[in-house]
């Protein structure tokens, strides 16, 4: 048995990494913080041109039919760059939901546009009170009373909410069901919504490991150049151990995230594997943010320090779709065969 990604999967990762390295340096993320909608000016179309946005969609709709095991590394790269775009909502959740819904003219049209980037999708799942990027999305895929609805942006009532991460704009959303299209309901919708939660959780975990990697790199870079008492602060054990602990935690989290992707791809042991991924990745990212913040000292507390671009995304995502404690509780219920965990996050 081969316990590694295929050459193709690694090439997909490298292609996205190369693109984001050139096109999404921290300055672009910072500009998104200050922009009207928290997003970048041109990254969405570049991702669409690369075929990334519809990766999980069927080939007949213009997608690539990629499984979570094919795309998990891409989400890690999105985290590594703190990509200020709704990739988690659009590519990680909405496109798989649409793909799983029964075909219909409305579904097919939006799915095709989602692959080309003409449509920008966001999601409103019952697990989360807020909707991200609702002001710049063209469509909302919404869960309401166990059914899945497709709502055009023009039919949404939006109320902005405060967000810790300024490139992650939050809204509470209202809409009239009469203006929405039903995509699936009842027994058809239930497994799709359950899978959507697992996708959102897994891809959040992958983004968190990418964020942690970059934060640790930033900490190492700073510790190697910042001098105190005539020496680089990285030569002091107290600093070294903090960064080493953060590195260890993230290195242990990554294969657990990959196992989550394997579980989702092969539909085996999904709940436990995805919850383990989220618990480990959330803890690792929080640990990395704390260690690197401490390594930076006072400068780390200023928003001018690029660390904030990554740290605040990590803080938000570590709590999205269940924090570490919630997922450990969920694993406990599963291990003890003690019934489902409390659905409230």
């Amino acid at each position: 048995m081969r316990f590694a990604f295929t050459d193709d999967q690694l090439l997909f990762r490298d292609a996205v990494r190369d693109m984001l390295k050139k096109e999404c340096p921290p300055g672009v993320v910072r500009a998104a913080w200050e922009s009207d909608n928290g997003r970048s000016a041109k990254l969405w179309s570049q991702l669409a041109e690369m075929g990334v946005l519809g990766a999980a969609a069927p080939e007949s709709m213009g997608g690539l039919e990629m499984a979570p095991l094919d795309t998990v590394l891409l989400f890690e790269e999105f985290g590594r760059a703190a990509l200020p775009e709704p990739v988690l909502e659009h590519m990680g959740v909405a496109v798989p939901i649409l793909t799983a819904c029964p075909p219909s003219p409305a579904r097919d049209a939006v799915l095709r546009d989602a692959c080309t980037g003409a449509a920008t999708l966001t999601v409103a799942l019952s697990a989360t009170p807020h909707v991200l990027y609702a002001d710049s999305a063209t469509h909302l895929i919404a869960e309401r009373d166990g059914a899945i609805y497709l709502v055009a942006a023009g039919a949404l009532g939006l109320t902005p909410q405060q967000s810790v991460d300024r490139s992650r704009r939050l809204f509470t959303v209202t809409f009239d069901i009469g203006e929405a299209t039903v995509l699936a309901e009842g027994e058809d919708a239930a497994p799709i919504l359950a899978a959507a939660f697992e996708h959102a959780t897994l891809y959040s975990s992958a983004i968190l490991t990418g964020l942690a990697s970059t934060m640790i790199d930033m900490g190492v870079e700073y510790a190697s150049t910042r001098k105190q008492f005539g020496k680089a602060i990285g030569t002091f054990q107290a600093v070294q151990h903090k960064l080493a602990d953060a590195f260890l935690a993230n290195q242990f989290a990554r294969p657990v995230v990959y196992k989550g992707a394997y579980a989702l791809t092969h539909d085996t042991d999904v709940h436990t594997s995805v919850s383990m991924a989220k618990a480990y990745a959330s803890d690792a990212a929080i640990a990395a943010s704390e260690s690197v913040l401490q390594t930076h000292g006072a400068i780390g507390y200023t928003t001018e320090c690029d660390l904030h671009l990554f740290m605040k995304r990590a803080w938000a995502l570590a709590r999205a779709f269940g924090n570490s404690k919630w997922h450990r509780n969920r694993i406990g219920h599963h291990v003890l065969d003690d019934g489902p965990a409390d659905a409230r996050l």
């Binding site: 997909f12 190369d18 693109m19 690369m50």
Partner: protein, 251 residues
């Protein structure tokens, strides 16, 4: 028109390469990329094909079997097929040997246009294109920032000191790509999937009847001396005194 374009595997230019303590490069754990200047060449070749001016784009690389990755990258960008001239890892390759090996491929494939990066960012020799010109007898337009193909000629815009110059080279021709030739595209995910199915032939120097016998060998590497710390001078007079007597940069 058949276009041959090179794709050299180089250490990622963003990686700071270290020395291993015995005068050699420590290449453990470094990442490799397609030489950026070759990337401009590949992009230009693919653009010529998209514009209907080229029928086939062939990518050639000289190196170990690992170089297949860079060929696949070029195929993912839109090239049609690849050729690897495979050499052993411990084989010394100098620019002339590489030029001879590429010339062997040129003789087999008979392209009308050969595009190379003006240099590879690892050794920065800037010699292979010119040597290939001598070996093939083809005209060459080097340091191209613009390329047009018209009526059997390559019109090459070159950046020269103080301005630009256009040269008109009869095909078959050799063109080496400079920075501003184009904006290379990113390999798309569908492109990567398609690249896997495109043909990639592996040849040996023997197949090309070329003897690998480098005339130039790198005998060692050395880092530049570390910059000494600066000093703060009290006044302009002291600055002038130090510039005159210590740095000896003014008389």
């Amino acid at each position: 028109m058949k276009v041959l374009v090179t794709a050299k595997r180089v250490v990622d230019p963003d990686v700071k390469v270290k020395l291993d303590g015995s005068g050699n490069l420590d290449l453990s754990n470094v990442e490799y990329k397609l030489n950026p200047f070759d990337e401009y060449g590949v992009e230009e070749a693919v653009k010529l094909k998209e514009a209907g001016k080229a029928d086939e784009v062939i990518v050639v690389s000289v190196g170990t079997s690992d170089s297949q990755k860079e060929i696949r990258t070029a195929l993912a960008m839109g090239a049609d097929r690849g050729i690897l001239v495979e050499v052993d890892e411990d084989e010394d390759l100098d620019p002339l040997t590489i030029a001879k090996l590429i010339n062997g491929v040129v003789q087999r494939e008979e392209p009308q246009l050969i595009l190379l990066g003006k240099l590879a960012v690892d050794a920065e020799n800037n010699q292979v294109g010119q040597m290939l010109g001598a070996l093939t007898g083809f005209g060459q337009g080097t340091f191209a920032y613009r390329l047009d193909i018209e009526d059997g000629y390559a019109i090459v815009g070159r950046e020269v000191d103080g301005g630009t110059a256009d040269v008109k080279v009869a095909l078959p021709a050799i063109v080496t790509a400079d920075l501003r030739l184009n904006e290379p595209r990113y390999a798309s995910l569908p492109g990567i999937m398609k690249a896997k199915k495109k043909p990639l032939d592996v040849l040996t120097p023997d197949d090309l009847d070329v003897e690998v016998d480098a005339q130039v060998r790198v005998v060692g590497y050395e880092l530049p001396p570390e910059r000494a710390a600066g000093v703060i001078v009290a006044d302009v007079d002291e600055l002038i005194e130090k510039l005159r007597n210590e740095a000896k940069v003014i008389g």
